[in-house]
Amino acid sequence: MSTYQSSNQGAVVSIFLRGGMDGMHAAIPAADPHYLGLRPNLGQAAQAATDLDGFFRLHAALKPIHDIYHAGHLAMVHAVGAPDSTHSHFDAQDYLDHGTPGDKSTSDGWLARAIASTHPVSALAGVAMGNKVVESMRHASQSIISVSTLENVGLVHPLAGMDLWIDAMAAGDDLLGPITDATFAAVETLQAVPDPGNTNLYPNSPFGQQMSDVARMLKADIGIQAVALDIGGWDSHADEETMLTTRFDDLARGLRVFFEDMGGLMQSTTVLVMSEFGRRAYENASGGTDHGTAGCMMVMGDGIKGGQVFTQWPGLSSNQLNHHGDLMPTTDYREVVSELLDARHYYPDLGTVFPGFSSTGYLGLV
């Protein structure tokens, strides 16, 4: 039995593809009559892609997750976006991280607010992978742990009690004091996380290694409710096919190994893959696409109504695109996240997670 009251909520693993992932190149709308006209070169990728539902096709480099999709544990949501669209990476990432599209005054992250709303008892309720603070996990009072790697967690200095000296020196600093306390509390817990010795199954990339650590921590049942991790490098203005083939391959293989490694724990775990915006519907002269609006999300978990692409497809004819020539968003991304938090993870207060947002009806992902 778990020692943490909140762990019956399971864990949300939120993967943010930074740079604007081209949703139309991940789940390719191959059967849309205007698709090849907009993307005569990039569109060639549709041939090697595998079928999703007769209309959409999955990019060939995403093949490792195709089985999970067909087994019904992975769903795609397409033409999804934020209502206040912007072509600025900065603004769009801010909006997504802070969960308040159009409002730049929000300083804390949506995941951190979600965790805080449950009054977590574990110091490790929110884990951000990497050395830097992940924006979606930023919160004024909630301590969020960032984990760069599970290897050699702890102080190098040999003096027993060095932690207390460091802690004492930091006391009184409103930023570093709490961070120092939280660090040493987390170190103690993380040092006890067992190593299953299967890290080599994961891709030998930063993402693959992080997913390996995420699986280890979730299996150790240390009260983690949410994990945030970032993968950069999706800003495919030029030579997109080459660029995304590498990125998709890493993403899909990491997700596949994680799904298999987690086994039964996937019943209470949800993996959410999203990006700040999709890209322009038509390709540019550099073999890439410029910043757009709607894109696609992926949702993975045992119990998700997977094997389908949830979408109200807006179409790709010039009058169906928005005035910039972007795929029109027909689903608010907050609808997707709200449903998962509410119906799958039982979060009590969605109003604080997405202030000002009210659902117009869940998609039926859960």
């Binding site: 050395n131 027993a160 570093l176 203005h237 540019n284 410029d290």
Partner: protein, 501 residues
Amino acid sequence: MDEGRRSFIRQSSAMAAAMALWSHPAFGKLLSKDQSVDPALSVLRRFCLGIHPTDVEAVYQTGPDAWLASQLRHGGNDRQVEADIDRWYPTVGAPVADLLAALKQGRIETSDVAAQLKGAAVYRAAHSRYPLFEAMVDFWTNHFNINHATPALRVLKTMDDREVIRRHALGSFRDLLHASAKSPAMLVYLDNATSKKQGFNENYARELMELHTLGVEGGYTHDDVLAVARVLTGWSVQKEGAQRGTFTFISAWHDYDRKRVLGEEYPAGVGQPEGERLLDQLVDHPSTRRFIAEKLCRRFLSDDPASSAIDTVEAAWGRDGDVKAMLWALYSTPEFQSANVVKFRRPLDYIISMIRTTGTQLDANGVRMVALGLKGLSQTPFDYSPPTGYPDDAASWASTSGMLLRWNMASLALGYRPGSPMPARESLLRPESLVTRRASPKKIVKELVDALVQGVIDNDSHALLVSFARERSADLPAGSGDVVARDVANLLFASPWFQWH
């Protein structure tokens, strides 16, 4: 450690926490009213990535005003430093044609070119006699961020660093922007190099306004982005011949139709000159001077600078964005002299500060160790992929794992290895060289506090350090003063007094 000691540390820390309750919440630790920082040290603490003992000597010799004047007048390449760089990192100074020829003949790899530029950046920051110049190089490097993402960028960034950033770091913003807009590395990084009338690319156009000049709130629209992209069609890079790898304007790719940018008409039929006009329009836009002034204040004062300070710096902009005048203006603000207006050190400042304050001389191997440290802390020069450049606020860097890595980085640099009870004699940092031989624990602390944090520390923390030094002294065999010095330095490097400046 005995229980009495543990409870003493806990009490001190509880006391400090209680004191924090009745003072206002604050990032960093504050000095009490009776403590102040010598203005001579303020100028070093704000303007240097790290303070070398010779910087302190220089500022005491001439006074802070003269020190600043001299840094601004002479700031540039340090001849002694450049001599080492020419020897160790020959690609850094090589003309682009020579570099491309060497690459073509297989004499070097693009990864060597990238590694050499990274090495030079570290070495210059660690050893230049012009630390303010190097601080501004770092500022503009991030402002006009380009990363070593592709083979082309790994080569072209070398020229951008030399001919754009370092050439104009203390010059005018107008010159900087014009140079950057014609920098092959920038044109490739933000995809303008392939932007043609048919299927133009908006990436550079957008970041030019959002990140380089006006700022995201600077008052431009999506239509302005499109128009700017069209103005800059044909601004590209020579792909062949003797001029390969240099700027070129490809007339056949340029959109000669009329455009409208930020309310100004651009008539039809104009080629490259309309791009030059556009850059001047952006330099002269009021949003740009505000944006740059604010960014300078955030870099050198605090994450949330007083608007009066921004006003002061903005007023010094002049006609072209005079960098020297703006730095003088910064220096003149009351916030600049206040020890309680603090800035969090990013990993680069943190590591370079450890090197400079201890008076450590790096050799090529030391540079490699520093580069590894920067990689571990996620701030390798020229490796940040988003065009924003590395973040410059405390909240982005002060994370749990980030702090743990810092503390460990300090231990490793001081010669400790996981599992070893004593530090290796050979180590990157040797703070014992700053301490009088056979000094008492109290004296060791005093000398290291002066050298490493320029005496800026409150009485409670100072007392804690003395207790720590005494305890280490008592635990270690006689004659272990060097180890005590390293441990005191380690605790100081881990403390807030070293994270903020």
